[in-house]
């Protein structure tokens, strides 16, 4: 036990690092009760652009498949 501090004032210099897998699980911010994300204008616009992009990609793939046959 010689490595341990002899007074309370020394005690503050010690840090204990615990591996995340050994630590008690903490309460995370996600829980299934949250449900679907609210469709704010920003979300709507982003999903609309994404759908447009995917639509163009599907057309390209379709063209390739038709041209390839």
């Amino acid at each position: 036990m010689s490595d341990y501090p002899s007074s309370d004032s020394d005690a503050s210099v010690f840090h204990l690092t615990v591996h995340p897998l050994d630590a008690a699980p903490e309460q995370k911010l996600f829980h299934p009760e949250l449900g679907r994300m609210a469709l704010t204008p920003r979300v709507k616009v982003a999903l609309f652009i994404l759908q447009g992009y995917l639509g163009v990609m599907v057309l390209l793939v379709g063209w390739r498949l038709i041209a390839g046959t």
Binding site: V13, P20, W63
Partner: protein, 444 residues
Amino acid sequence: MMYLSSVTTQEAAKGHLVPRQVGRRKVAWRHRLSHFLMVAGPGLIVMIADNDAGAISTYTESGARYGTSLLWVLVLLLPVTYFVQEMVARLGIATGEGLASIIYERFGVWWGRFCLADLLLVNFLTLVTEFAAVALVARELGYPPSVAIPMAAIGLILLVGTGSYRRWERMTLSLCGLNIAWFVLAIMVRPDWGSAAFDSVVPAIPHGGITGDLVFLVVAIVGTTIAPWQLFFQQSCVADKRLRFADLKAARFDTAIGAIAISLFAGCMMLIGDAMFRGGLRYEDPAQMATALEPLIGRFGRIALLMSMLNAAVLGATAISLSSAWAWGEVMGWKTTLQARLSEAPGFYSVYALCTAAAAGLTLIPGAPLQEIILWVQVLAGIMLPAAIVFLQLLLNDHEMLGARFVNRPWNNAVNWTVIALLFGLSFVLAARALLPAWPSFLS
């Protein structure tokens, strides 16, 4: 909980680490280092595994065709890679869930299934290219691929089946460490360090001007450096390692080191390709390059180059298969952790083994359409990456779920939306070029 905090003598005696009585500053420094070493892993692994067989092919080809003149692209990509991967690390720490399950829960079943199906498909096809690289190396070393590929597949399955996340992480980090060989090989080809340093910081168009091939190669470098599986892999890995809120700073550092490492290794690969350019040698693939450079790097160098390629394929294969297994298991609600024994998470391990075995089996079929597979990897990645990254950005602005602490800051959003717009454009060019080979001919 006592972690990351000062503790009293009695508390220290109960802890996992026995502290020594040293100066305050030393303790703080040691504490930070030991904390970082415990947290590090997901960021380093995802980045280094991204330098897989396909990446080696892209980087060495760009060196062989354009010398060191595209090194600046890697430097530009370094912060982009970091910003994208930092988002998944943050989201993983805040939610403790993988990206696939969060997309499923927050955007609904349709988007969830779309992302999962696309991810699984592009991952599987990429996995086939990893095994194709194993076959290429085996042939070059004089071993039959029919032996090398099953051995690689069995090794990959054994790597994850230990029932210990820590064991898997240590073994995978050891494989990552072998990437040091790229530095040695880059030194062995005796590059022109001055022009390499200049080309790294001064963007320039290679001799010959902007051609369709050059545009495609630059886009391919971007597509290689930021792949869809990376987003899913790192978030699931962070969740599996159970990183805590207090680990965020160390996880960011882990990701930053990984981003720097991936750029340096990629630069080394370009320098090795540049030796072909300087020597006026014809480039076919990295395995042929190893043989062509033997007069310069010797027999040891040739074998080291081939083994580095094999190592990259194995690292890429384990990370890609794991990202599939995590994503599928999360959406299905299975137990998805490397901490579980085979009997405790049969679905998770079965998906991993199935992906690995099926890709290996497909590569063994004589006359397998590898060129077609590479084409579809590019197309599907072009579909997947923008989708995944848009969901990621929206999730990181989800105040309802993340609160004020973990959401993006305004400057964060400005950078990320710019990166997203660029990735949309580049992914589209990559996919369109693969689907319509004559498309960019106006550039030639």
